[in-house]
């Protein structure tokens, strides 16, 4: 069965069973070798599991790209306190749609990853914080966890190994900021999902005040395959510094949008042209956001030399983020789209920090003014200055996420702004 679109360039590890509903059944999953990695991890012992993941070079898929094995090694060894593993399934970065697919097509792959992760960091309880809007994915996941309990893959004395690991699916309630790691912890504890000041870091004081580690859905899903096949196997894909495969969420003006699993380092232009069938209606490429709405926009020239890995994106002044590639053709109204993104951040700001709370809504208002033809050239300077004050001054980086699209679009598509600003000049105004 074909998932909406597939491509010969893909290396389907995590997404191998997308489009096949039978794979959700625990029987089918086990028949195809499922839960073998848990057994193997229990034989290896926590230290060796962490080493294997470190060796694979796997980097967190939630946006920041921090090496997963290293993160796990920050957990205290004998704190005497309960540890928690938190799986971040709050996916709400505009442009990102991989975690929902990973859960609805292959829930057991994630559960297996959670069990391994929890075991490695000495956690007896894993919480999967699943976005509130995902009713369907939530039901599928809850059902799969239930099946895992029934068959002895979760709960007490898993597979007779003496290891106890509980898994709980927790449904969020609609707030982008709960995807931020400490916001998620507050939300899990029944508080407003407002980020906490770091330090202390989650490995010291996390959920319920206990040492915790938080990982994205895709990260944990990849862990299952790394334990199954070894870190060296994982390194055969991708680049030296960005190893492995990654789900690319392509949306916008391409002929075949969708999720594609590709080795990291894949050229952006090849992704657009060969994998996604080019730009819709034969139009020309104008701009790309390669990592979700929080990263800087790049223009067509930069896109043509961008390789999709953490370093490659940095080279052209942007970030890989969660590899949510938003493609815009030459008919796109950039100002409107930037304004829409900033509206989003203004809506989602948790309100704790003044630069973020005030800055995001003022930025949105000025952009709206420009969009409706009432802006001035001076507004562009104001926008640059104001967003600059929002960078690095707040508790979390949501504030910085406003600056990224605004500043990059003004730098690269200044003409688009000016043509709106000077709309009336054509009739003679100075």
């Amino acid at each position: 069965m074909a998932y909406p679109y597939v491509s010969d360039h893909e290396v389907r590890v995590l997404s191998k069973h997308f489009g096949d509903p039978s794979h959700r059944r625990i029987g089918t999953y086990v028949e195809r070798g499922g839960y073998g990695a848990v057994k193997k991890a229990f034989e290896m012992g926590p230290a060796q599991v962490i080493d294997e993941v470190k060796g694979s070079g796997l980097r967190g898929r939630g946006g920041a790209g921090f090496p997963t094995g290293v993160k796990w090694s920050f957990m205290p060894k004998d704190s005497g306190k309960p540890h928690y593993l938190l799986c971040n399934a709050d996916e709400s970065e505009p442009g990102t749609f991989k975690d929902r697919e990973l859960i609805r097509w292959n829930p057991h792959q994630l559960i297996e990853g959670c069990l391994i992760g929890a075991y490695a960091i000495g956690a007896k309880h894993a919480y999967i914080y699943c976005r509130g809007e995902f009713f369907e994915a939530n039901s599928i996941l809850a059902r799969a966890v239930e099946d895992a309990y029934e068959q002895g893959y979760a709960g007490k004395d898993i597979l007779g190994s003496g290891n106890d690991i509980e898994i709980t699916v927790h449904q969020g309630a609609g707030a982008y900021i709960c995807g931020e790691e400490t916001g998620l912890m507050n939300s899990l504890e029944g508080r407003r999902g407002q980020p906490r000041v770091k330090p202390p870091f989650p490995a010291a004081v996390g959920a319920f005040g206990m040492p915790s580690t938080i990982n994205n859905v895709e990260t944990l899903a990849a862990v299952k395959h790394i334990v199954d096949n070894g870190g060296d196997w994982y390194r055969q894909f991708g680049t030296e510094k960005s190893p492995g495969t990654k789900l690319f969420c392509v949306s916008g003006h391409v002929n075949k949008p969708g999720n594609y699993e590709l080795p990291l380092g894949f050229p952006l232009i090849k992704l657009i042209e060969e994998v996604c069938g080019g730009i819709r209606d034969g139009n020309a490429l104008k701009a790309v956001i390669p990592g979700g709405s929080s990263v800087p926009i790049i223009n067509a020239e930069e896109s043509s030399r961008c390789n999709l890995d953490y370093e490659g994106c940095e080279e052209v002044g942007t970030m890989l983020g969660c590899a949510s590639v938003i493609v815009m053709d030459d008919k796109t109204d950039i100002v409107k789209q930037v304004r829409r993104m900033v509206d989003f951040y203004a809506h989602e700001s948790c309100g704790q920090c003044t630069p973020c709370r005030e800055g995001s809504s003022w930025t949105a208002q000025i952009l709206k003014r420009i969009e409706y033809g009432r802006g001035t050239e001076e507004d562009l300077n104001t926008l640059m200055e104001m967003t600059q004050q929002m960078v690095g001054t707040t508790i979390c980086v949501l504030s910085d996420s406003v600056a990224a699209p605004v500043q990059s679009s003004i730098e690269k598509f200044r003409e688009d702004y000016l043509s709106l600003i000077r709309r009336d000049e054509k009739v003679g105004a100075a």
Binding site: A2, Y3, P4, Y5, P21, R24, R25, S92, E93, P94, G95, T96, F97, D99, R100, C130, E133, F135, E136, N138, S139, I140, L141, A142, R143, V145, E146, Y149, E150, A154, E166, I167, T168, V169, H170, Q171, G172, A173, G174, A175, S187, E189, G190, R192, G193, F208, C249, V250, S251, G252, P257, G258, S293, S324, I326, T332, Q337, R340, F344, E348
Partner: protein
Amino acid sequence: MSDIPFKNPGWAGNTGEFNLSEEEVRGEDFVGTRPVHGGHASGAGTMPYMLAKKDPDGALFEGEYRERLDKILSRYPTGQAALLPALGLCQEIRGYVSPESMDAVAEVLDLSPAYVRGVATFYTMYNKRPVGKHLVQVCTNISCNLAGADEVVDAFLTYTDTELGQTSEDGNFTVIEAECLAACGFPTCVQINSRYFENVTPAEVPKICEHLKSERE
């Protein structure tokens, strides 16, 4: 359900080749929903569905719902952690979370009413006021917007003869804009109660609405 007259409800891909039925897509085991008592405690905190039929005066935390709350409480080191799932239960039963519901939650979890109010109002998914039988949330964020989400919003507003956030006269629909629903590759994405409708174009809007009105509850 396979006779849904439009393309791939809650499903991706708008080419004919993927014209799968909802059962084929979700797998028959997963159509339908979770039991009211919550099933195994590990998943009791997930909402099984959003009912089209709501009972604004329905009893909270009684019978099977009480059983579910107890299961939820058993999964966390603190009672406060059950707050979000408990508010979710209120919404599931009554269709929205009224101040009275918030107070009931405060009492059952031994929290202060002010605290519960502060948390409940932080989250957008809790409806603070009653909404129509079908809450239509159209994503207008960037990827959907690039595909023409604004026209989809207009089509819903025209069909229902409402303004954003207003409930239609027959009580069937409330249309609002939503932020990214994490289905950006399949735009425009529209969430209606607990279901996702993907690849929605303005032309399909009347069909979808007619279908919802005709559906069993």
